[in-house]
Symmetry: C2
Subunit: 160 residues, 2 copies
Amino acid sequence: MPTEVQKLKINYKTMEDFKHFKEYGAQELSMLEDLQTNFVEDEIDSPFYGIYYGDKLVARMSLYKRDAKYDQYFDPPQDYLELWKLEVLPDYQEKGLGTKLVNYAKSFKMPIKTNPRMNSRPFFEKMGFEPVTYSVERDLGENPLVWYPEGVSEQKRGIE
Amino acid sequence: MPTEVQKLKINYKTMEDFKHFKEYGAQELSMLEDLQTNFVEDEIDSPFYGIYYGDKLVARMSLYKRDAKYDQYFDPPQDYLELWKLEVLPDYQEKGLGTKLVNYAKSFKMPIKTNPRMNSRPFFEKMGFEPVTYSVERDLGENPLVWYPEGVSEQKRGIE
């Protein structure tokens, strides 16, 4: 069965699919509201990428490009990706789908920042993500992990 | 037994106390490192507030003042507090200690933003915190709750 990563079209089917994921919250409800106030489907720009088995959405992540001017993590400062809500449905785990999604994120060749839940930290570390030097001003309650493409390193300015 | 909220002194005893809390991570390890590289104790500025029973730290929270220039949540834009790691040790729950900490945070009369874990959302809502209108650019993977002091309302600019 082909399992390619694709950018998700936001329509009522996708919204129903989203209800199967644990991390369903304000973001999804907001998108549903946008959909309900627009007559044309599929026109909403979505930060979600996913993998289908047949017509069933079985894995997803959210990916958003942050502008270089907000970059407090990377040296040199540059556009980077924030990754969140990486999740594979229980029956489809251990098949490499999480790895496929993260490799897709890496394929943009931009640095990536994520703030994973405790139990997914080992997975991200296996994927080459590293902890940053903690800074209260910048990180507050987060313990982010980051991935550096070649030629990129930790920004020292952000932690001084 | 008196249970007053106090700003925590950062010394080796506090660092040992912190190990009893579930949300122990990069922030605590960074403070421990600061302590180890300084000879004088109690000199490190800490964002932690706590409640002791005798000499046992039984509840804590982290509170940090954000400058008005970073305010994307409140109208008019102003200095506000970020609250995180609110936690009461299991044997000391249901005694109003969490309420006492949050009331202490409110006593600064500044707006408060927090990004609580799912299971503590009802507590914060009972304490008068409200969800904000979700914005992907601003909130990404967060579903924050905020508290508005009198005269403060939701910032519309942040969600346009």
